[in-house]
């Protein structure tokens, strides 16, 4: 492959992965915007979504269908409905039982609780890998990575070109962009979305306006979780391998993206996700894979030192 072809290829890979990171980052940033809590368990929620998707694949027998058959598209759509509902619901439950009563307490308590939830999720992922289903290797090696069957064709849409842009990439782009449009419409135009923005801006004022704050916060967790669920499905189909510790890395990448873009800002999360995705792809190619994580971390530190409000974030002053 020529130099420019390599560059283009990495661009595609970077953007695709970046979109997945962006989806996860959106969930982070929505929850942070509303209760100023970093939901540590978000990355692990994403991981559980992947496992849920694989379970669905196993139950529907999708691993036996050849890619392209109509059953496959049906299965895909079903996954894109069930998994986000699952993740959203789980996230809602977590808020209800682990965070809600800690709203007023010191800043450390909800954080520590979130870490606890993250660990519980990780363990669930570990045990889930041991479920005696064929997709999970019949429960033989619970902790081992699981293969996700190739459901979407790897065929290159660009024909004979050295650069590959497959249906998978198209799917990633399609799902992510349409979801972002949907989210923007939701936050700007629906009543629930406006209530979320109100609570994010000023919780007390929103309460005085009659907005049921706890319910809105729960809804935010649900939507944020749903986004993670979509990201899980897309990731699993795109990358074809899942393991119970993947939430950790995904969480850090997504958090870095959210901070880079400006935490609390939805377009910021998208921008941040794309930048991180591209940075990872280019670092993998032009420097060395083993330094990619260091690069992401360095980006995080640089942003937090030089521009903590992020690229698109507002420089908010804390009222005392």
């Amino acid at each position: 492959m020529s130099g420019s072809e390599i560059f283009l290829q990495q661009l595609i890979i970077g953007l695709s992965n970046g979109m997945i990171i962006a989806l996860i980052a959106l969930g982070y940033t929505m929850v942070y915007g509303i209760i100023e809590l970093i939901n540590f368990a978000h990355g692990d929620l994403f991981m559980l979504g992947c496992f849920a998707a694989l379970t669905l694949v196993g139950l529907l027998g999708l691993d036996h269908i050849t890619a392209g058959a109509s059953g496959m598209w049906f299965g895909l759509v079903l996954m894109l409905i069930v998994v986000p509902l699952f993740c959203g619901g789980l996230n809602w439950l977590v808020d209800r039982f682990a965070y809600r009563h800690l709203r007023e307490s010191t800043k450390l308590a909800p954080l520590v609780s979130a870490i606890g939830v993250s660990f519980v999720f990780m363990n669930i992922g570990l045990l889930w890998g041991g479920v005696p289903m064929k997709v999970f290797g019949l429960g033989r090696a619970a902790a081992a990575p699981k293969d996700f069957p190739v459901l979407v064709s790897n065929a290159n849409l660009l024909g004979q070109s050295a650069v590959t842009f497959t249906i998978k990439d198209l799917m990633v782009f399609g799902v992510t962009l349409s979801l972002m449009a949907l989210l923007t419409w939701f936050v700007k135009s629906t009543r629930a979305g406006k209530a979320m923005r109100a609570v994010a801006q000023d919780r007390l004022a929103a309460q005085l306006m009659g907005i049921p704050v706890d319910r809105v916060i729960g809804q935010t967790f649900f939507v944020g979780g749903g986004l993670a669920g979509v990201a899980s499905v897309v990731f699993a189909i795109y990358n074809n391998t899942i393991y119970f510790q993947m939430g950790y890395r995904a969480g850090i990448d997504a958090f870095t993206a959210a901070v880079l873009g400006g935490i609390g800002s939805l377009p910021g999360a998208v921008l941040g996700g794309l930048v991180i995705g591209l940075a990872r792809a280019f670092c993998d190619q032009y420097i060395e894979t083993r330094w990619t994580n260091v690069l992401v971390f360095t980006v995080l530190i640089l942003v937090l030192v030089f521009r903590p409000s992020g690229l698109l974030g507002a420089r908010a002053k804390e009222k005392v």
Binding site: L302, V305, F306, A314, A316, K317, K319, V320
Partner: protein, 342 residues
């Protein structure tokens, strides 16, 4: 002689202008009150003076100078040092594997003696081979990032609250902010902290300085508590104190800082007339010790009873200023509090 001079201060939060071009002079050893309806910008003004908010524009002069960390030659030295360390670190990090290989792995045979001079020579040769890529570029990048980063962090902390505190401005808060998990005595000792000289090794090894300073500081702290009338509760947890005593404790902690200017934010809130009288006596005693007092208060008897001068804020602007008598009869003030007859 003015201890504090506020000139054309503007504090804006996004679209909201909380303080709009306020100018105020506080003469030394006076008691000045700031009054006004809620939301008039009084606490914001305090926060700007003590460095919690950064003014959008305007100046605040305390004791003749601005309240910010000066850029001294020691600051430049520290920044330069951090830059150099960052630069050297980056050179090391970028080259660490190759350095290790050429210096150590190549020259060391298991359990033989290691010739340090030979290794040093190898290191110099390694750097000499490709000085640009291996030394100069990482050094420059590291120095740049290190310097810029250190400067960014320093710059953002120039007007931090501790700077105002050490310059001699102490304050209390509208919603009491005590250290509830600590006892009363410790709260006061904390106020003194900036003047203590015990370092962690004195404490760790219990050197004589630790014992001496502990005894002296506890004595001073008890004295302050006696002054504030709290000495009998010195070993109670701060959160167990009565509301009125908690307010006094906040004042005691502020006094422990040996300030020249004391900012009290609604000290009489929630007090009954007897407690308010005691508070007025306390404030007078504080002034008699040579401390200038600036007070936000709604409790009119207190305001009228102790102020030398009063400034009135409404909607972020100063609408009146003068002696208690002048202010009481100012039509604009009456209008701000009671509304206009339409």
């Amino acid at each position: 002689m003015n201890l504090l001079e506020i000139s054309d201060l503007i504090v804006r939060f996004g679209g909201l202008t909380a303080v709009n071009s306020v100018s105020l002079d506080i003469p030394s050893k006076h008691i000045v009150s700031i009054i006004g309806p809620n939301g008039a910008g009084k606490t914001t003004l305090f926060n700007a003076i003590t460095g919690i908010y950064e003014p959008t524009s305007g100046r605040i002069y305390f004791g003749g100078g601005e309240v910010c960390r000066p850029f001294r030659w020691t600051t430049a030295l520290t920044l330069a040092l951090i830059g150099i360390i960052a630069a050297l670190s980056l050179v090391l990090i970028v080259n660490v594997e190759s350095l290790w290989d050429t210096a150590i792995t190549a020259n060391y045979a298991y359990q033989q003696t290691f010739l340090w001079s030979k290794a040093a020579g190898a290191v110099f040769r390694y750097f000499g081979e490709e000085p640009g890529r291996r030394v100069i570029i990482p050094f420059l990048i590291g120095a740049l990032v290190g310097l810029a980063g250190a400067y960014a962090i320093w710059e953002r902390s120039r007007r931090a609250p501790e700077v105002a505190a050490r310059a001699g401005i102490a304050r209390t808060f509208q919603n009491i902010r005590l250290f509830n998990q600590m006892i009363v005595l410790d709260n006061v000792l904390l106020g003194m902290d900036s003047r203590l000289r015990t370092r962690f090794w004195h404490a760790a090894l219990r050197l004589p300085l630790y014992w001496r300073e502990r005894q002296e500081s506890e004595q001073s702290a008890m004295e302050i508590l006696r002054f504030a009338g709290l000495d009998r509760e010195a070993h109670q947890l701060a959160e167990n104190l009565s509301y009125g005593h908690q307010r006094r404790l906040e004042i005691a902690r502020a006094l422990a800082m040996q300030p020249r200017l004391l900012l009290l934010d609604e000290p009489a809130a929630g007090m009954n007339p007897a407690e308010a009288q005691d508070l007025m006596k306390l404030i007078h005693n504080i002034r008699d010790r040579g401390i200038t007092v600036l007070l936000i208060e709604h409790h009119m008897p207190v305001v009228m009873g102790i102020s030398d001068r009063i400034a009135v804020l409404d909607h972020g602007e100063k609408i009146a200023e003068g002696t208690p008598h002048e202010v009481r009869n100012d039509s604009k003030v009456i209008e701000a509090y009671l509304g206009k007859d339409d």
